[in-house]
C-alpha cells in the first residue's frame, strides 16, 4: 500500500469508528474542560435549565463532563447540545474557567461532521445563506425597498440620515454586523450619525461580510474559518487601525478573530469607543444640548456577548454614559444580566425554548416600571421586543446606539 493509500485507509477506519481527529486548538478546548470538578454550580445558574428544566436541557455540567468526555462514537447528543444559548453564564461562574461555550461549538462541529442528520435543518439553512451571501440574513432583493425601509425606520426615530462612506481609507472602520446591515438598519444609521457628529474619520466595508459567528455556533467550523479569512482581508483593505461595531456578538467574535489573525487592529464596541476614545466633555456637550427635550425612565439589559464573552467593564461604561444623559433615570432590573434567549441559534430551531428563557427578562422588566429597555445588541433588542409584545407588556426596546443617537439628534434640532 502506498503512503497516500495508507493514510486514506487509516482515515477511513477512524471515520468508521466515528473518531474525528481533533487538532491542537480543539484539544486545547477539551483540556479546559479537564478542570471540571463536577461541582454543578453551573446548573444552578444556567438560564436554559431555569427555563425548561434539566430533563430537556441537561445543562452545562452535563456538556462539560458527560458529553465532552464521551467516546466519539457516542456523540449523538444533538438533542441537548443545540439547546445551549451560548450565554456563557456557566463559564463566568465556574471556579475553574471551564470553557463550556467553546466545547458546545466543538461538539456541534463533531456532530456536523459525524452525524449531520442530527443537525436542526434551520441551522443548515443559515449555513447555506452564509455560504451564498456571506451574510446571516437573506439580503433584500430590491435595494430600493431596503432603502425605503431604512428611511421609514430612522424617520420614526428622528435620526437624521448621513451618507455611507465606502471605498475610502480611514482610521476607523465601522462594522455594523449582519443584523444591523440587513434588518435593524436603524442601528447602522444611528452609529454612522454618532460617528459623524463626533467627527470621527470612519469608513464602511465596500461590501458587508459576516464575522463567522453564526457558522461557528451552528457547527460549521470550516465555513466559519472561510468567513473569518474573507473578513480579515476586507478589513486589511480599509487600512483601518480601529474597528467599531454596534453588535455584541460581533464585538466578541471580532476580538477573537482579530487576535488570532495577528492583524494590528483594535476592536471596540461603540460603548468602549465612546468611553475610551472620545473626549468626555465633547460627549457631554452633545447630550447637554438635548436637555429638556425628553425625559425617560429606562432599564438596561446586558448582552451576554458583551459581559460574558468580552468584558463586564463594557456595561459598566454603558451605565456611566447613560447617566450623562439629562432626563434619563435608570431602574435596575433584577434580570439585567440574564440571557435574552436569542443566542446560540436556539431561536432558529427551538423558538419555544428561546421564549421560555426570555420570560425571566420580561417579568423582571415589567416589574421595574421603566418605559423602555436599552440594550447594546440588535439581537437582544429583537428578542426582547418580540417577547414583550407577545406578553402584552408595553415597554419599548431601544438599541443603545439608537438611544444615544436620538439624544444627540434632539440636541441638534
Amino acid at each position: 500500500m502506498s503512503e497516500e493509500e495508507a493514510y486514506e485507509f487509516v482515515m477511513n477506519t477512524l471515520r468508521k469508528e466515528a473518531i474525528v481527529p481533533l487538532d491542537h486548538e480543539e484539544i486545547d478546548i477539551v483540556r479546559s474542560i479537564e478542570k471540571c470538578m463536577n461541582c454543578g454550580s453551573c446548573i444552578n445558574l444556567c438560564p436554559v435549565v431555569a427555563a425548561v428544566g434539566m430533563d430537556t436541557f441537561s445543562g452545562p455540567r452535563s456538556i462539560a463532563i458527560e458529553l465532552s468526555r464521551s467516546t466519539p462514537e457516542f456523540w449523538t447528543s444533538a438533542n441537548m447540545i443545540f439547546l445551549c444559548t451560548g450565554c456563557g453564564t456557566c463559564r463566568e461562574n465556574c471556579p475553574h474557567d471551564v470553557d463550556i461555550p467553546m466545547i458546545v461549538n466543538l461538539l456541534r462541529w463533531v456532530i456536523y461532521k459525524q452525524r449531520p442528520e442530527l443537525i436542526p435543518k434551520q441551522l443548515l439553512e443559515v449555513q447555506n445563506r452564509l455560504e451564498k451571501h456571506s451574510l446571516a440574513f437573506e439580503p433584500w432583493e430590491d435595494i430600493e425597498d431596503k432603502n425605503e425601509s431604512r428611511d421609514v425606520r430612522i424617520e420614526q426615530l428622528g435620526i437624521p440620515f448621513v451618507k455611507d462612506r465606502k471605498g475610502v481609507k480611514a482610521e476607523v472602520l465601522f462594522y455594523p454586523g449582519c443584523q444591523a446591515e440587513e434588518r435593524a438598519q436603524e442601528v447602522r444609521e444611528a452609529a454612522k450619525y454618532i460617528l459623524v457628529r463626533l467627527e470621527v474619520d470612519y469608513c464602511l466595508l465596500s461590501e458587508m461580510s459576516c464575522c463567522g459567528l453564526p457558522a461557528r455556533l451552528s457547527g460549521a467550523k470550516e465555513l466559519a474559518r472561510d468567513l473569518e479569512k474573507k473578513l480579515i482581508s476586507k478589513i486589511k483593505e480599509t487600512g483601518a487601525k480601529k474597528i467599531v461595531t454596534t453588535c455584541a456578538g460581533c464585538t466578541s467574535s471580532l476580538s477573537e478573530i482579530i487576535e488570532n489573525s495577528g492583524v494590528n487592529v483594535k476592536v471596540y464596541h461603540i460603548i468602549e469607543y465612546l468611553m475610551e476614545e472620545v473626549d468626555e466633555a465633547k460627549l457631554k456637550l452633545l447630550f447637554e444640548r438635548g436637555r429638556g427635550t425628553s425625559e425617560s425612565t429606562i432599564t438596561i439589559h446586558d448582552p451576554c456577548h458583551l459581559i460574558r464573552h468580552t468584558s463586564r467593564m463594557i456595561m459598566y461604561y454603558a451605565s456611566i454614559i447613560l447617566r450623562m444623559i439629562p432626563g434619563v433615570s435608570i431602574k435596575p432590573s433584577s434580570a439585567f444580566d440574564s440571557c435574552c434567549g436569542g443566542g446560540g441559534m436556539v431561536g432558529y430551531h427551538s423558538p419555544h425554548v428561546a421564549s421560555r428563557v426570555t420570560e425571566v427578562n420580561v417579568k423582571a422588566i415589567e416589574r421595574t416600571g421603566a418605559e423602555r429597555v436599552v440594550t447594546p445588541c440588535p439581537l437582544c433588542t429583537t428578542q426582547l421586543e418580540n417577547e414583550l409584545f407577545r406578553s402584552n407588556v408595553v415597554v419599548d426596546v431601544d438599541d443603545f446606539t439608537v438611544f444615544i443617537a436620538q439624544q444627540i439628534a434632539r440636541g441638534e434640532r
Partner: protein, 547 residues
Amino acid sequence: MFDVVVIGGGSTGTAVARDCAMRGLKTLLIERDDIASATVGTCAGMISSGLKYMDEPEIVDLCSQEVVYFNKIARHIIMKNPILTPIFGMSDLSSGGNFAEEYSKRAAKRQVPPVLFLTPEDSLKIEPMLNPDLIASLYFEEYFINPFRLCILQAQDASVHGAEIRTYCEVVDIRLSNNEVKSVVFYDRVSGKKEEVSTRIIVNATGPWAERIAGLAGTNVELRLNKGAHVILDRRVVNVGVIAKAVDGRMIYLFPHESTVLLGTTAIDTWEDPDTLVTSHDEIEYLLKSMEWVVPSIRKARIIRTMEGVRPLIAEWKIPEGEVTRGYKIIDHSDEGVSGLLSFTGGKLVMCRRMAEDVTDVICKKLDIQATCETHIRPLPGNDSDIDVVSLAKEYKVSQHVVERMRTRRGTKTRDVLELVRDHPEWRTTICVCEPVIEAEIRYSIRNEYPRTINDLRRRLRVGTGPCQGTNCTYKIAAILSEELNLGIAETLIEMTRFLSERWKGKRPPFRGDLLAQEELVQAIYSCVGNLDREAIHEPNPWEEGL
C-alpha cells in the same frame, strides 16, 4: 456434590465456570471478593494479538485466533483500538520492520489491515499530539474488550447454564480424602457463616493467589509475580493509541479507552501482599517521563487516578519480565500426589476462553464425560443483534447519550433495563453524571448482577469512574444500594466512606494539580457537611495499614 468448584472470579475463573456449565458439569464458582475485582480489573482491557511476544509465534497465533472468537461472541463490549507507533530513529525502524512482518502474516485472518507505514505529516494529522520530530510511524489495529463486562457476562452465562456463582466467599480450606480432593470450605463474608461443599474437581484460577490456594491442599505452585501500574488520564486527549519506548527501553502505551486515556504499564517484580499494593511516585514519573518524549504535552493532561495489579507470570527467573513467556500452564497436582486439583499459572486476558477450554477438556477426560467446547461459537448475553439507540431513547424518554452508553454494556439487553422506567418513571434520573448512568440501570444491576458494594457497581456500570471519582454520586448510590439490599444504616454511611476510600487509593499517589481541588470538594461535601470524618469510620483497607 459438585463436579467442579472453580476458585477465583476473574477472567479465567468465570470462563472456566461458563465452559464447564455449558458442557453440563455441575459447577460452583467461588470468589472471595467481587467478580473481576483483582487482576483483570486493573488491566487495560486490550485483547491483544500478542505481538509484543513475537518470539513466541504459537502464542501470537493463539491470541490472534481468540480475538476472532471474541469478535463473534462479545462484539457489543468490544471496541477497535487503532494504534500509531511513532519512529524517531533508524534503529526503531528495523525493529518495527520485523514487527510489521509478523503482524501482517496474521492480519487477514483477524480482519485487520497489515501494518501500514505513515509519513510524519500524515501521522501528525491523525495524532497532532505526537512529537513532530518523528520520521515515520507504524499503524496497526487491536481491540479492547470491557474486562468487567466480559467477566460478568461469562459468570451470568454460566448461571444460565446451571452454574452457581458465590461472590464474597473466601476459600479457607481444601479437604482431601485418600489424596483426592473431597470438599472446599469457605467463609461467606456477607452472612458470616462457614460452608463446606463437596466436589470432584477443583480449579484454582486465583491468579496471584494461586500459591496460597494450592497450599491449602498441601501442594505447590510457583509464580513470578510482577506489579504493573497505569496512570489514568481524563478524556481522550489522544485520538488514537500510541506506543513508545520507555526510559529503560521497555515498550509502554497510551491508549484512549472508554472516556479516558490509559498510560501504562510498569513492570516490577513483587513479593508484597497484592492487596496492599498502590502505585508509587516512581512508577508515575517513569510513565510520564517516558511518554513525554513521544507526546510532549502529556504532563499537562489531568490525571484521574492510578491503578495497579499483579501479573501472575509463569516462574521463569533471571530474565527480564518482558522475556518471560506469556503462555499459560495448567498444573495437575496429581503429580504431587493430590488428584482433582488443577491450577493455572501465566496467561493473558485474551487467552481466558482458551485456557478455560483446555482445563475443561482435562476435567471432562478425568470425569469421563463426552462434551465438546462451544464457548467460542455461542454468544455472550446481549450480543444477539444491533439495537436502534435513537428509537429506544424516544420510546422510553431517556436521553440518547444514556442509551448509547448502556448499549456498550448490555447490547440487546438494554431494553430490559429501560423497561423498568415504565413502572418507575423517576428511575430515569441520571445518578452518575460523568458516565452517565441512570437509576434504572443501577437498580437492574443490583437485582440481576449480584453486586454487594458501590465498588461492585462501579465495575458493572462505570459509576464513579469519571474525573470526579464519585464526588457527586457516592451518596446517591449508597442510598439506592441501601434500599435494594436492605443495608443496616451504619453500613450505608460506611459504604460511602469505603467507596470514597477505594477511589482515594488511586487519587493519592498522583496527588497534584486538579486532584487537589477535587479532593477539597470531596472533603467539603463528605467531611465538612456530611460529618463522615467523625461519624463513619470504616475498618482500614489493606493498603491503608500503617496509618
